[in-house]
């Protein structure tokens, strides 16, 4: 009986300890990685994300074509 309790206590101490150590190392590793990335491959000032860009681009295009494509999309959606 005592045995299982000490096993439990052991598991708690080592387990919790290990979780904390691991995540602490992960904090360091992640931070280092982020710094390295910022140094080596700094991101260009981003253009707006792709999807948002796609919208005006397509919207600017031929409107008839847009409707045709959307209708095809709807058609495909319906036939599913």
């Amino acid at each position: 009986m005592e045995n299982i309790v000490s096993e439990g206590i052991n598991l708690m101490i080592f387990g919790m300890g290990f979780v904390v150590v691991f995540l602490t190392l992960l904090v360091f590793a992640t931070t280092a990685m982020s710094k390295l990335v910022a140094k080596i491959a700094p991101e260009q000032p981003q253009p707006k994300p792709v999807k948002a860009k796609a919208a005006p681009a397509a919207a600017a295009g031929n409107n008839d074509e847009l409707i045709a494509v959307m209708t095809a999309a709807v058609h495909k959606y319906r036939s599913n």
């Binding site: 290990f18 904390v20 691991f22 602490t24 992960l26 904090v27 990685m33 982020s34 990335v37």
Partner: protein
């Protein structure tokens, strides 16, 4: 007439036991909770339905060929099985007992005897063997979850990993609770069972199923039901604890906006995590390896069709089989037990302690850093229960400061909690399996 009697004697109505009635009711309750109360329906609908199927009398859907043979206990089959298992007794109970502790060769011999007797594995037993017995299903779910997870908020504020670490205290405190109850003679859990119960506190379904299938498969039904039920109850369980442990001023803390995280960081993170796992805890490699693989597929941007499939068709297929397989462990003889009550009680304790530990850690970090950088309400999200716990943090935050959107801030500890409990799982598998 003879056939009519035969049909009646083999019918469910004639053979049903009280336990099966209760367990079918439990299955219906799970379906009710899932459908009407929206308790994690993706899992609890298949689990509940599988639980009903597992308790259909005489159908033996959840039993192996050997268990089915033992159930009907035809003497000549029992003789053959006893011979295969090298035991003298042909009593069904003895045979089943010998079967469970047999060597691999004896095991196969007993199976052969059952097959020769005309018995077959039940459908749910086959599902269980393939999906969970092989551990593949929880790993694939974890891969899909990885493919759905955005580590952006975590990368923007890596210190929230500490919150995810702290909340795992719920796991280990519960292990201690389970062994304590055993020491006091209230329950009878061995250390493997205690560890599997503790993992409920990880608030992460696939991790709990993976660990339990390795350490204490007979408890899988109760542990999975507890884990998913309590995850669904997070909006009820957490708020009182969060309120009790924080001051109103703390709850109003506004956190600074998260920095932009670059695509490259997101690609590198799963690789960094994997290498750390490889160096420190190989036992967590299957679980975190698949998780990182899913996440890398998501972020790398060149395998979108694989990532889409991992997040949709594949995870859905696996979820169906996983749920039915877990349900197979809800058969009356395995579930209706004092242990199940103990598991349900310990499970909620695990959630509460994890929540409290997360909140307290946030307060401690504020103290140590001498500032007000972290709203302690996001600490509770460290238990995981993605994304429910993060939403709870957000909701309570808004109650006290209607301009304070904590959701993205809480996603950091939320996903950190997934990593934390997978690490805890690895430690347990290492030490008690």
């Amino acid at each position: 007439m003879e056939k009519l009697i035969e049909l009646f004697l083999a019918s469910g109505a004639y053979n049903i036991t009280g336990g099966q009635v209760v367990m079918i009711a439990v299955g219906l309750l799970l379906l009710f909770l899932a459908i009407k109360k929206n308790f994690e329906p993706l899992l609890l609908v298949p689990i509940g339905f599988g639980g009903i199927l597992a308790n259909i009398p005489e159908a033996g859907l959840a039993y192996s060929a050997v268990e089915n043979a033992v159930h009907f206990a035809v003497p000549e089959v029992m003789n053959a099985m006893a011979a295969a298992l090298n035991i003298a007794s042909t009593d069904p109970h003895d045979i089943l007992h010998a079967y469970h502790s047999s060597t691999a060769a004896e095991h196969q011999g007993a199976i052969n005897a059952a097959l020769d007797g005309g018995y077959a594995n039940g459908m749910l037993y086959n599902f269980y063997s393939v999906a969970i017995g092989s551990t593949v299903a929880p790993l694939l779910i974890f891969m899909g979850v990885g493919a759905m997870t955005d580590f952006g908020p975590l990368l923007a504020n890596p210190r929230t990993l500490f919150l995810g670490a702290a909340a795992q205290f719920g796991i280990f405190a519960t292990v201690l609770g389970a062994v304590g109850m055993s020491a006091m003679g209230i329950m009878d859990f061995n250390i493997q069972e205690a560890a599997a119960i503790g993992i409920i506190g990880g608030a992460d379904g696939p991790t709990a199923i993976y660990v339990t299938s390795l350490l204490a498969p007979h408890l899988l039904g109760a542990i999975a039901v507890a884990a998913y039920s309590y995850m669904a109850l997070v909006p009820l369980i957490q708020p009182p604890i969060m309120r009790a442990l924080t001051t109103e001023a703390e709850r109003k803390i506004q956190m600074s906006q998260l920095r932009h995280v670059s695509k490259l960081e997101k690609i590198l993170f799963p690789i960094v995590l994997l290498i750390l796992v490889a160096l420190l805890l190989p036992d967590a490699a299957p679980l975190l390896g698949m998780f990182c693989f899913g996440n890398l597929m998501r972020e790398c941007g060149v395998v979108d069709r694989l990532s889409d499939t991992a997040q949709n068709a594949l995870i859905n297929i696996v979820t169906i089989f996983l749920g039915l397989s877990v349900g197979s462990k809800l058969s009356a003889d395995k579930f209706l037990d004092l242990q199940t009550l103990g598991i349900m009680a310990l499970g909620i304790v695990a959630f509460c302690i994890g929540t409290a530990a997360g909140v307290l850690m946030a307060k401690l970090m504020n103290k140590m850093m001498g500032g007000n950088a972290i709203n302690p309400l996001i600490g509770s999200a460290g238990v995981s229960a993605v994304p429910m716990a993060a939403r709870v943090s957000n909701k309570i935050g808004l109650e006290y400061n209607s301009q304070n959107f904590l959701l993205m801030h809480a996603m950091g500890p939320n996903v950190a909690g997934v990593i934390g409990s997978a690490i805890a799982a690895g430690v347990m598998i290492k030490f008690v399996s």
